[in-house]
């Protein structure tokens, strides 16, 4: 799947995206979600950490004063879901940004470098990919005494860049022998400039698609970590830890885990639709390009 984008290419990509209904709706949904989580908490009457009445107001069903009910600590679930959205989206996008940047850089360098440098770099990538990500996260987080949000982002990012690196490495290796690259090198072009101006746009296509999908994956992964007790730490909410807290009470107080679960699913759906739309926009098959 060759994704050639030249100078005016990005404008065409955006144009195609805007023409695709599915992507437009997905963007709209995401923007709505972002607005909700940014503005929502400001409109709430009770703070997400406020425990209103730990004896009498525990697991109160949805009502006018608490549209999504309360949780095990008598905290307002709606407030927590909105604030949690901030943290979940922030963690997910930052972690994915980190893993994309690291992966792209690693893949670019490995792709351009000679075998002596590239081989150990790619072996490190293979090593990282052969261990299940959850185990790696468990081991890393066990070694740390206190896990603030930024550290969680770093740990998530550091365990997720291997696939991107391999993808970029493959793409760079494939096109480093193409005519214009060979020509540029023969003419003495600076490799860094070469990488940034010519190679990077070529590889960004599949990378962007993978990144959008990764956002959803990271949100779900953080949910699992919170269920194990090692995700975002209290009292900060995240969709993940609200679901984790509420899972035990699925039968008696379903409203705790349903709301963040729905938000999570909506975001993943929107982000995946956007990813699909990006993929179609970057490599339109019906135009039969060569």
């Amino acid at each position: 799947m060759r994704t050639q984008i030249s100078g005016g290419g990005w404008r065409e990509v955006v144009h195609r995206l805007r023409a695709d209904n599915r992507s437009v709706i997905a963007c709209g949904v995401l923007l709505l979600m972002v607005t909700l989580v940014l503005v929502g908490p400001l409109l709430m009457s009770s703070a997400p950490f406020e425990q209103l009445d730990i004896v009498n107001l525990v697991h109160a069903p949805p009502s006018l004063s608490h549209p999504l009910g309360t949780d095990a600590y008598s905290r307002d679930v709606l407030s927590r879901v909105l604030t949690g959205g901030r943290i979940s989206l922030l963690v997910a996008t930052s972690a994915v940004l980190l893993e994309t940047v690291v992966g792209v850089m690693w893949g670019l360098i490995a792709g351009l470098a000679g075998r002596r440098i590239a081989a150990p770099m790619m072996r490190a990538v293979d090593a990282g990919m052969s261990v299940p990500r959850v185990l790696l996260l468990l081991a890393l987080l066990a070694a740390v005494v206190h896990v603030p949000v930024w550290l969680l982002v770093v740990v998530l990012g550091v365990t997720g860049w291997f696939g991107t690196a391999r993808l970029v490495h493959g793409e760079v290796r494939a096109i480093r022998h193409s005519d214009f690259v060979v020509a540029a090198r023969t003419l003495g072009a600076d490799p860094i400039r070469l990488a940034l101006r010519h190679l990077l746009p070529q590889v960004m296509g599949p990378v962007l698609v993978a990144a959008t999908l990764a956002v959803g994956q990271v949100i779900v992964l953080e949910a699992g970590l919170s269920w194990l007790g090692i995700g975002v730490q209290p009292p900060d909410p995240s969709w993940g830890n609200i679901i984790g807290d509420g899972t035990e009470f699925i039968a008696s107080a379903p409203w705790v885990s349903i709301a963040p679960g729905l938000c999570l699913v909506v975001v993943v759906l929107a982000v995946s639709a956007l990813g699909d739309g990006l993929r179609d926009a970057l490599a339109p098959r019906h135009l039969a390009r060569t």
């Binding site: 072996r123 261990v131 959850v134 185990l135 468990l138 081991a139 066990a142 096109i175 993940g240 984790g244």
Partner: protein, 353 residues
Amino acid sequence: MLRRLHRELRTDARHTRGTQMRALVRRIGQGAVVVAIVAAATFVLVRLAPGDPFATALDNARLTPALRAQWRAAYGLDGSIGTQFLHWITALARGDLGWSTSTGQPVSAAIAQALPHTLLLMSVALTIAFALGMLLGAWQASRRDTITDRGVGGLTLIVGALPDFWLSLVILLGGAYWLRLFPVGGASDPLLPLAASSLTILVDRLHHLVLPALTLVLLIAAPVARQQRAALLDRLLGADWVRTATAKGVSAGTVFRRHAWRTALGPVITLGGLTLPAVVGGSVFVERVFAWPGMGRLAASAIAARDYHLVVGCVLVGTVMVVCGSTIADLLAQRLDPRVEFDDSHPIVAAQT
């Protein structure tokens, strides 16, 4: 002249085989390097965490520092990390993976007990998931952009987006508690008589396999279906030979059925290769909820119990199997699509460009 051509072709063939053999050997060597990196990194990482393997029982920790020091010495944990690593390597050369403090048996015994359960669950789940996913993806591709396609696509997205532990719990409670059709976790019935017939044992195992396999199938089939749909549409729409075929009057359906599989299989094999760590490592969440005695559960509890040797042993065994598996997968992919070069720049990706 013909004879010279013949000789040249034969030399070429031998030359290609020779190159392939060299590439294979190089691949194996690189695999060994990968295993070494993973083993060393894990070895160091687990020892960085606070705590040690002794008295991890929370409520009755009666080990004084003197006793703790004695136990550390007895288990070989009192030297520097370098010394410990050397001991471990020399033991490994003898085939000894060390002693597991949390399960009270040699590490190799613990892994030998857990590995078959994970392999069973994951291979059953993956086979069904891939078959289901590929069929679903192909079905979607053949009905591109219709309501069915969009609907199924949305459904696969939602199912694939569900958190593992949440889906596991819902399926466990649904199938075992609300419907009472299946046992509550575990791999087999602990009360089954030892003298039971093989058929009873087999049926019991299958009975226990259904719910965890169902969970995994739902989680895995979804992305496989999406990948398959995308791959089919990539390869078939706009590809020269397809246009030629349709121009010649071959129906779209025949094109799909006869030719879609070979070229679309490549990305599926890649995806399969990417799931290899999970096949051997198991799913931590699914195994925990279903009390499935596999590698995921073993490794996760070993980390919590600071059972250093068991953690490194699990990761080592897992990595070795993954490296072997991916080498085999690459060989298979090369057989299927000879355009692929078998070298270290990840041939599958090269073939995709």
